[in-house]
Amino acid sequence: MIRIFSFLAGLFFAAALAWSLVLGTIGLSHDGLPHTVEKAFHEHPHAPAGGFSFDGGFGKFDNAQLQRGFQVYSEVCSNCHALRQVAYRDLAAIGYNEAEIKAIAAKAQIPVYDPKTGEVKSHKGLAADHFPPVVYAGQGNPPDLSLVAKARHGGSDYIYSLLTGYTNQPAELLKKFPEAKTPDGLHYNPYFANLNIAMPPPLTSDGQVTYSDGTKATVDQMAQDVAAFLMWTAEPKLDKRKQTGWTVLGFLLFATVLGYMSYRNIWAEKKGH
């Protein structure tokens, strides 16, 4: 009885799927596989030459690079993008001392809503404050960057590729997809998901910022530094995580070997090892 019922149920599902399959195949034979401009021209993010200092199991953040990246963020990105998950006190982790952190925080104005008067006032930033929001009233807010390195496929490689990837639309693209011309106000970038990004190229010329450590501020260098900095804002515990990981794996390996030896020992008479 149960098998008669199951036969019928099985054939019912199979028939419904076959129906979908037949109609789908007919549709496919008319239209062919989806062929979109994104599929044809989207490029996968790539790492900068030499990769990032924090790549791989033993990779670590390079504080000098993170400080340069913070400088690029402060002078360029922060005009539009906030870092609301990050507090000024967190900057201690990338090598700033207390006085420097207080000075950095004091440059910011932190908006505070006063429930007594209904006004939004602001106070000078303190080490305990988070980076303030960036608001363009009525124009929408550019995305917060605190987690962006974990919120995009490719992470820091994506940020680096995007920042250095602005280019003119290839002639081939316009020939194959004439309707895909980048609309006014948008900018062609093959690393962006739909190829046209609202953000104008932020890093346009070498020497746009002046690094205090003497590093030459090429566009490529600035893009690398800010990508590294944003990896830090997204994953500030990366160094500690990997360091702890090796200790944990070492201990587990030791315990597992001991466990395996005791297993062999206990089973010796049963298995004759």
């Binding site: 987690l147 597992t256 466990g259 005791s262």
Partner: protein
């Protein structure tokens, strides 16, 4: 329960004697996972995954309870409270990564455990109840994992919740009221987040309860084994302690090595980047995909693209997705072969491997965008999935000629000659 030759619990310390009279908990443990539980001596490493699943459940409960101390189930602050855990709570990043990857590890282990059951016929009499309870545990795990994924209130949390609760909307007539009742609103918001948090905390303890029943039901006939031949004599078994404690122990070490490598070195490899973007009801992600362990079922859901007879495509998809798991409940009665182990079932073995490949194909399609060629592939794969359980298995089990079985477990381990010698000695 258990076999007549099982070791008897003999407390030696006066306190344990006293304890045994008042509350025989040590006796219970001894008989359940100690020297008092005889286990077939020929279990292979596929039999370690039940124990590993227990470890996963333990990891999830311990890390989850601590995370709940720092998490705030309110749609205004849920996302930020998770970031608070990642940044400001001592070792919070480790707890959260251990919990998120612990869910994946749990499903890896459980899928192996389930396919172990498919291959070695663990669901067959007299262990049907063990199997049925196992399917219940799997359903509870899926519900728990789904609700847990909603809690960080990222983009995939929100849109995943919207899609999955939207499935109930496919039920004719009462679908929409049910959907609104489940969510406590017209779309996922604070009411949904709060109830999901409450249930996400509750269900793991329900799972613990069903696990106890699962192990209890297992201990009545005793464990199955790779030959599928039932235990006959004492020489077929060894006591659980120390033999299988030792084996499970080192297997647990090996498992934890792989798991910790994920937690500490690839913590986000199995997650979706979009879940690091706060939930935004006004912006739909390009591709809404669930976590990887739901992909095969998600592929089945999306394989139904056309209305069939009087059934709308969406309803068919929902029916099929739930049936894909519910069909496991019927398995003990669909597969009527008296031989348990696929080692001795040449024809069934081929279909088993076909199912394994089929599940992998469905998984791959479920994780891919809903476009060709993935739709067509998942339609073929889903068709095989249902035919496998509902049509092929009953037919195979009646036409197949199984290979000869060993006389006993001891014979399978030691060979026929040693077994004869042992029998002569006895």
């Amino acid at each position: 329960m258990s076999f007549p030759w099982a070791n008897d619990y003999k407390p030696s310390h006066p306190f344990m004697v006293w304890m045994d009279e008042k509350l025989p908990l040590p006796r219970f443990v001894y008989n359940a996972v100690g020297g008092g539980y005889p286990v077939p001596r020929n279990l292979n490493y596929w039999w370690n995954f039940g124990f590993l699943a227990l470890i996963c459940l333990g990891i999830q409960i311990v890390t989850g309870v601590i995370l709940a101390m720092h998490y705030a189930a309110n749609q205004g602050v849920a996302f930020d409270s998770v970031e608070h855990i990642m940044r400001d709570v001592n070792w919070g990043w480790m707890l959260r990564y251990a919990h998120a990857n612990g869910a994946s590890a749990f499903f890896v282990v459980i899928y192996i455990h389930i396919f172990r059951g498919f291959f070695f016929g663990s669901y067959k009499a007299p262990r049907e109840m063990v199997w049925l309870l196992g399917v219940v545990i799997f359903l509870l795990m899926m519900a728990t994992a789904f609700m847990g994924y909603v809690l960080p209130w990222g983009q995939m949390s929100f849109w995943g919740a919207k899609v999955i609760t939207g499935l109930f909307g496919a039920i004719p007539l009462v679908g929409e009221p049910i959907q609104h009742w489940l969510l406590g609103g017209f779309a996922p918001d604070n009411a949904a987040l709060n109830r999901f948090f409450s249930l996400h905390f509750l269900l793991p303890f329900v799972i613990v309860g069903v696990v106890v029943l699962h192990i209890w039901a297992l201990h009545i006939p005793g464990s199955s084994n790779p030959t599928g031949v039932e235990v006959k004599t004492e020489s077929d078994t060894v006591p659980f302690y120390p033999y299988f404690i030792a084996k499970d122990g080192w297997a647990a070490g090996a498992f934890l090595l792989a798991y910790c490598a994920m937690v500490f070195f690839f913590p986000n490899a199995l997650g979706h980047p979009d879940n690091y973007i706060p939930a935004n009801p006004m912006q739909t992600p390009a591709h809404i995909v669930p976590e990887w362990y739901f992909w095969p079922f998600y592929a089945i859901l999306r394989a139904f693209t056309q209305d069939f007879l009087i059934f709308p495509a969406k309803l068919m998809g929902v029916l099929a997705m739930f049936s894909a798991i519910l069909v496991w409940f019927l398995l003990p009665w669909l597969d009527r072969s008296p031989v348990r182990s696929a080692r001795y079932r040449p024809l069934y073995r081929k279909f088993f491997y076909a199912l394994l490949v089929d599940a992998a194909v469905l998984g791959y399609c479920g994780g891919s965008p809903a476009e060709e060629p993935f739709v067509i592939i998942s339609q073929i794969a889903a068709m095989y999935y249902f035919l496998h359980f509902l049509v092929i298995l009953p037919i195979v089990s009646s036409i197949e000629k199984p290979d000869p079985l060993p006389y006993s477990i001891t014979e399978a381990v030691l060979g026929a000659d040693d077994h004869a010698a042992l029998a002569a000695k006895a």
